[in-house]
Amino acid sequence: MEGTYFVFWNWLVAVYLFVAGVSAGCFAVSAIAYFIGPKVYQDISRIGAYIAPFPLLVGIACLIADLERPLIFWKLMLTLQVASVMSWGAWLLLIFSALSFIYFYLWLPERFDLVNLFKKPADHGDDVETASESFLYKLRRRNLKKLKGWIALIGLPVALMVGIYTGVLLGALVARPFWNNPMLPMLFLVSALKTGTASICLYGCFIQGFGGMSQEKMETNKFLVHSLDFVLMVLAIITIFLFIFGLYVSPRSSVGAALLIMGGPYTFAFWGLVVVLGIFIPLCLEIYELLPHFIRQAAMREHNPWISGIITIAVLIGGYFLRHVVVYGGQAAELVSL
């Protein structure tokens, strides 16, 4: 049976790893933007908070659909198996989705405030507050800033952990040479942050649009998104290099696994889609955008929706195919041989 393998995890798992990364990335970028400039980068924080909870829901659906017995998935939530990364991950996802929904709620405009739901029109005249109303009121109006800050602060490490966890899930398996590489979680984390910024940019540019946004505001936002992206791209290149290096300086089985992407069946998907489309093309466009700012200290270029569009879509496609190649490649790689 040597040379035969069967695919037990299909693209559903790849989609899950991808969208969990997008969620984690959106939350993390939103929180970071909130910390460096709660006022200045408000739009980025807001969009990030708007996106964060939803890809994860899709991801959890994929994860459950991939189970052979989806109906008893709740058994996951009855125990914590200390040695199992997947068990930790299930709890982590629960905590993270709760946090991201709270964060989402905090960023909603005032008219969606839950207080409105509980307020009966008749109550308007008198000062009597119902218990729930006063609780929500306290939660919301008075402490909004503080609350946002706290949730962002608690959520940031949790989001980063989710990003890392998707890699550790695969990296913890000593039997699978393509996955058992310390660089894999790092690769997934960087890619998660990258796809997070990309989805924020995509949402900002094409769904929300720039209606009413001043030139200056747009420039500040663009600057942050592009600089973050730029740093992440460079990190991604380094991590990919170290990932492949790590495969080559390991035992024979790992070298065999490396061949999958160095001439084997996943070469195009990896180098073409993940590296060139997902990293190099966006990186070049980022440099093109940022260059005048860096060299001549001049203002940014005019906003060009094509550039933002290509960067974001390319990053997202690259991000998915990274998961795809890793999930399928890891199963195709021969098990550690004797």
Partner: protein, 181 residues
């Protein structure tokens, strides 16, 4: 407490697959399902040629990665050394399939993961595992490793230098010993 283990003398294996069929019968498996398989390898070109058959089944590792990774605790290691799946707790996440270095776990159509159980229900009654009963060359030896007087313990003591554990470098500490030469 007994601590079960097995020795497989792969030099005696002729590749007839009787053990696989016996196991399928014993465990009511469908034709495409099997708890043990033969890894066939060919070396050289004729006339300088040789081939080997390596019977592989769950190694009942003492440091079992499949048990560590199971998120619901359905994969367990019993005190007598046997690794089992509690099928009612298995949600079919297949993480253990990914974790096992020996490629011996399968998904049953019913949606849970199963694998060789050392025929533990029979062993407890004093009957040998099914894979041993049909083997015409006596490839396998099964018994209690804790009992220094058992046949298998004495065999291991005498042949220690010829025995090795499959993929032992992964620190899975298998309970099946292979005899190569």
């Amino acid at each position: 407490m007994a601590h079960y283990g097995m020795v497989i003398d792969e030099t005696k294996c002729v590749g007839c697959y009787a053990c696989r069929v016996a196991c399928q019968n014993q465990n009511n498996l469908r034709a495409h399902e099997a708890y043990n398989h033969l890894e066939e390898r060919e070396y050289g070109t004729f006339p300088d040629y040789t081939r080997e058959f390596l019977p592989v089944q769950c190694q009942h590792c003492d440091n079992p990665p499949c048990v560590h990774v199971c998120p619901t605790g359905a994969s367990i290691k019993r005190p007598d050394g046997v690794v089992l799946v509690i099928i009612n707790d298995c949600i079919g996440c297949k993480y253990c399939i990914a974790a096992c270095p020996y490629n011996v776990r399968i998904i049953k159509n019913e949606g849970y993961v199963e694998k060789c159980r050392f025929c533990i229900e029979f062993v407890e009654k004093g009957i040998e595992p099914a894979c041993m009963t049909t083997c015409m060359t006596g490839v396998r030896l099964f018994g209690d490793l804790d009992d220094p007087d058992s046949e298998i313990s004495r065999y291991i003591a005498r042949n220690r230098h010829r025995l090795r554990q499959f993929k032992g470098e992964l620190n899975t500490r298998p309970r099946i010993y292979y005899r190569k030469g």
